[in-house]
Symmetry: C2
Subunit: 280 residues, 2 copies
Amino acid sequence: MNTLEKITTNLDSFSKSERKVAEVIIASPQTAIHSSIAALAKLADVSEPTVNRFCRRLDTKGFPDFKLHLAQSLANGTPYVNRNVDEDDGPEAYTNKIFETAMASLESAKNSLDTAAVNRAVDLLTQANKISFFGLGASASVAQDAMNKFFRFNLPVSYFDDVVMMRMSCIVATEEDVIVLISHTGRTKSMIDIAHLAKQNDSTVIGITAKDSPLAKECNLVLSMEVPEDTDVFMPMASRIAQMTLIDVLATGFTLRRGLKFRENLKRVKQSLIESRVDR
Amino acid sequence: MNTLEKITTNLDSFSKSERKVAEVIIASPQTAIHSSIAALAKLADVSEPTVNRFCRRLDTKGFPDFKLHLAQSLANGTPYVNRNVDEDDGPEAYTNKIFETAMASLESAKNSLDTAAVNRAVDLLTQANKISFFGLGASASVAQDAMNKFFRFNLPVSYFDDVVMMRMSCIVATEEDVIVLISHTGRTKSMIDIAHLAKQNDSTVIGITAKDSPLAKECNLVLSMEVPEDTDVFMPMASRIAQMTLIDVLATGFTLRRGLKFRENLKRVKQSLIESRVDR
DNA sequence: CAATTTTTTGAAAAAATACTACATTTTTGT
DNA sequence: ACAAAAATGTAGTATTTTTTCAAAAAATTG
């Protein structure tokens, strides 16, 4: 918990003098972090050791350490927490909240991602003869994005957002093929069927999906991320951003693995796009 | 500017010894804020006054004050600094860098977004009879994502990633239609043509694109965001994430504008998806 | 309600830490 | 190669924080 919150919450557990210190700090945290222990003690009308004891009570090493913690809690202009959109938020408010929620999701996705699994996924992808990305509904755009990225690697890539096409694609798949299934919940029936079908042909199935979900169980390799729940009435937003970033990670791992010469090729692809643009 | 960024940026302006200090701090800012000036000096293999001078050069009052500033810059999640992927980064390193870059992009996109323009965009969208999202190449997935979101609003929505279809769609467009064009650079010739075509039918054209770009000039309303350059050889990553988040913002603004009853409908759409899932 | 124990508090000394002045070294320009 | 300027370090000084310990206040008990 944020240090300033902690002070407010535990206000009751302090002694009389310590509470004076707490109140002075709450009144003006900015003053507090720029004062010496002596100045703060004077402000609160207590002795210096009291201030020091107050700091220790908040699980800090001492006064300087306490100032550090307090400074950090002030720095988080808006803590990424509990930023759900309200009924009566204006454009400014909901814009900020949504961007901040997205950032918080990425943070938590990053921390929960297993980099060893990422590495194995890159292994599998670099060895693939052909790569397919499948996603339905909201995950379709992620699959499309993935195709767009891997397409530049001059590799057979395909993407489908249609169950029939996925099926057909799986039937002709070989053991040299890698199929990447994208599903936030991991509980979409048709996706589970697809995974099953793909494995019957010994294709490699990588799932970007929820841990321990039915779909995850069907995959050869699972990449899962903890993304704070989309608690609102609206629609899944956070998860797609995290998935897209994961695709970026895979694509980057892929190019790094392929080495320098390979990246020269990429430059050429990028160059070729310039011709479709107007001059500056 | 964030203190840690400042150190990275001004690395060249430091003297030899001061750079040693800077490097030690960049290598482990957490260690830095928990060390005394003596400990840090030893780590950097310089004298204490050098560390002190280094702090002053960064416009702080001295070492303790510097630690405060550094602590604050660390508090904002992760040091979003110069996190370009290196040739010899391992999976752990490049995963973190990419996620952090994405977060930094969102932060900067958020700060550069004009919320008044967002509000006007929401106005236009709520009044539209029909909404189309167009995007080519990398922006296609964003357009698809947008369609997926707005589709739930029980509205005529379409999305195309194909110039011919876009053209056809524009020709039959009316003045009650809103067309959202997504292009990172704003310099893709065919998109500019499309915008022109749409305006001939008095359709409303909203551009999610670069400020002052040729495409921006053709639009009735432009939503632009400053996203740190994709400096690497690879592909555009940051911009798409920002665009997607912007779509989330628009969708949210849309639902808020439509009021409570409308959101009840959304719940039903969400509910209907559950039937396609396996039980927990 | 007084006696005893426990807790809280602050003065002062001790320790740790940061800063200043100045000397020395290194770099830069001629 | 020399002088001037800049950078760096040594050593002493000042500041700040922490510890110690004794007094005061509050709580507990007979």
